[in-house]
Symmetry: C2
Subunit: 306 residues, 2 copies
Amino acid sequence: MSAVVGVDLGGSKIALGLVNAENAILSRRRIDTEAAAGLDSVITRISAQVASLRRELPKGQDIAAVGVGAPGPVDPIHGDLLTLVNLPGISNTPFRRALSQRLGVPVALDHDAKVAALGEFHFGAGKKRDSMIYIVIGTGVGAAIIYQGRLLYGESNTAGESGHMTVDPNGHLCHCGSRGCLEAYASGPALSRHYATATGETIDGAQVAERARAGDVTALQTLAEAGRALGIAVASLAMTLNIELFVIGGSVAQADALLLNPARATLPGYAFKTVAERVQVRASQLGEDGAILGAAWLARARGKLS
Amino acid sequence: MSAVVGVDLGGSKIALGLVNAENAILSRRRIDTEAAAGLDSVITRISAQVASLRRELPKGQDIAAVGVGAPGPVDPIHGDLLTLVNLPGISNTPFRRALSQRLGVPVALDHDAKVAALGEFHFGAGKKRDSMIYIVIGTGVGAAIIYQGRLLYGESNTAGESGHMTVDPNGHLCHCGSRGCLEAYASGPALSRHYATATGETIDGAQVAERARAGDVTALQTLAEAGRALGIAVASLAMTLNIELFVIGGSVAQADALLLNPARATLPGYAFKTVAERVQVRASQLGEDGAILGAAWLARARGKLS
């Protein structure tokens, strides 16, 4: 098996990794997305980084394919971008085909949460498991459901919007317009907002996690409320889907036990005892590498030429 | 294709139907379950009814298989009963094999909500659809998820316990011990309890529906509260699974628009606009025949000899 390149295309940053046949990341790159510059510019800059990674391979070796995880719904059949909510400059464009044509290698594309889930499922916290729900908590909250080894997409490719499950119908208003979504409790901006409401001080979600680790009681309470919301959502998902492994990733998940322990403690109050006992809520093992390794897995499994 | 027999094995009644190759029910039987009499007795009485249905076929024709829907989790691989919560006399017994040996024809067995869902999916409200969530509302609330034509079972065969999704974490206590389960709002006993709390008068769920149809304001409010809980659960399921057809069956579902309209009205407040617009919440088309036709479908698809 040849090497492949995994690309994590984010709203502000693009991370790339050269991945060998043993699924080790040999080399990395990180550049700004600059989505406002438009599709051609993003493709040109990704291509330059892929070319640079290619040159690191021993003479005679080449990459077999490129995989990309991107924000927003992606059509898994055609693998073209449908809507990139956070990348207005390159929305609704045949991104995968354009990149494949530029590079002359097969390219596979999928939604970023699904790609990170594939990484954790094949190489991280979900290794050797049959099914897994990956919940990514950052600026937003998204999920990817792997059932018997296969990602679920749903009828219009929007499966996994579990950040907008209702955890309290009378709870906080979510920016999506609904009330009491998981995202209105557990996302970075939600942590920031709730901390500011309690203290008058505005810091971001990562800083709330940092202060909680340092013993700040309000920060701990903010994370505990987020964890409780996460636990309620996990309980409802476990009751409905009977999937037993939940892997929590994303920047807020770095709060780790301060977020996950309240979630674990909430679970038995909202699920059958027999279900709650089997459910494991784990932090992602691969962190940001999950997206690169998942994209690399996707490249091998689904990479298509132009 | 030969005829088959579909069996709806309930906690108090057993309904059987002789189903021809065109999936029409030619003849029906209905007997008491008398689960307390034990497995042998139940099998003997089912066998007598199957024999009686067989005799109705023209000379030279016979049934090809028998399908059974039963309460409680069923192992879909072996098709034997795991736990029949409401049938203590015949719990944890190799029911399918015993019945197949007695009848000398292949028998297939699955969970009652799943079997009724198969009926609606193949012959009723879900005909020609790709995916469907069936929610049965009666003494309890259960669900069956059909994704791309296949039932989801989960890792321990308990998928579909969506009656115990949390619709309000501070809401009514459910008999399962959790708080705010859908079942604590929408089941027959929940309707009865909430009506009694408001009026001091104890009537069952079907009677609440009847009074609502006659214009009783408290009964209407009780159903509206149940419908709102249903709408919240449907919204969360639709966001997570992106399945767009919800079929509501079971005795309480006979309240129809008085239950389903409040659910439909609640949906947009708890799901993305784009998702809510695509979701259809429909009453089951087949009523009690759904279980018989689903069991007949199961018999053809999965019937196994002893």
